[in-house]
Symmetry: C2
């Protein structure tokens, strides 16, 4: 499947949604879907769907609709590699634990290979098959095992302190739950921010100002 | 503080970030900030900052910069009410537990007043000061206590099944970790989606296709 040049971020952000809807269709036994049916589910237009898919070579013949299974296979091939990405967790508090449970048990495409914390009561504890290490082992671990993804569940200041080491040690993608804005300092790494606090504040604003 | 008509979603989404940056400035003892300094931190333009603030009456006099403490107070007043919003949690698994810990201990403006699950091993357990109830009590609880916000940490199908009851019972805001797209069926409620799975898929795509 040829990727046509650089795909824009909005298109990339829609790929998981396509993948989810198509997985549901396959589960329901549907075999064909048109761009307008997909558009309706996605809350977009048929033309947008076709444009999105054209970034990857088109996925089908115009006029006869898409084959659900083929489309799902192609999208899966774009989103995931055969080998999962090796991920490390930094910060093993309640949020870090929940997040790595999600990554380990519910998500596809990742393998948790190590977890780090600074607190003595965390170090040595088992977490989803890995033993929590002290953060002072981070550099040595990365040098030896070359993980590709770091999950940051630490406060902003710790994230800022650790970022140079992580980037230097070859981490290419960050799943960032901290408030440290990594993409400003490191424009060449991939950052997915999940800002729970911002999300709650914006919810609160909107509920408080409902007409 | 007069809110000038309907404020657009992108502006609302930036308010928490302003609030966070200003809180840090206050902690550092800074008392004044210009729109261009704020813009630099936010990764936007000074004109955008002034436009954003103009939606709420301006927050200060042009040319002399903003008073950090006043600005923080005004933004806090917009984002939060004196009385926290009463929130209920649906789904008390690992993610639901982590999320309600965050809501209870780390976030401002919310009070967890009840938690619901369907699993017998969850019902009756204590969670941050509330006793987990069976989901069959949901309607009665809402009728009596009128919570405003629901946190959905359940699968898509359960979210879809429960949504009519929740909206009918007066829930006005959803913090939605499920993949059920509430805002399509209920355009008049406020929904903040946190799609962990989509975020991981888009991270994986980007790491796998790094140049």
């Amino acid at each position: 499947m040829p990727v046509q040049g650089k795909v824009s971020v909005p298109v990339i952000k829609r790929l998981p949604k396509y993948y989810r809807y198509l997985s549901e269709m396959k589960q329901k036994g549907l075999t064909k879907v048109s761009s307008s049916e997909l558009a309706r589910m996605m809350g977009t237009t048929a033309s947008q769907v076709r444009q999105d898919f054209n970034c990857f070579g088109g996925f089908g013949q115009q006029g006869i609709g898409y084959n659900v299974e083929v489309l799902l296979y192609e999208l899966g091939h774009l989103l995931f590699r055969e080998e999962p990405l090796d991920a490390i967790l930094i910060g093993t508090g309640r949020l870090g634990t929940a997040i790595s449970s999600y990554l380990t048990n519910d998500a596809r495409g990742y393998r948790l290979v190590a977890a780090f914390d600074i607190r003595p009561d965390q170090v040595g504890r088992q977490l989803f098959g890995v033993c929590i290490q002290h953060v002072s082992n981070l550099r040595a671990f990365c040098q030896q095992h070359h993980p590709q993804v770091a999950v940051l569940c630490v406060p902003k200041s710790s994230a800022k302190d650790l970022a140079p080491t992580l980037v230097d040690m070859g981490i290419r993608g960050f799943w960032n739950f901290s408030h440290y804005d990594l993409s400003v300092a490191y424009p060449n790494v991939v950052v997915e921010n999940v800002h729970l606090g911002d999300s709650l504040m914006s919810l609160s604003y909107q509920v408080n100002h409902l007409g």
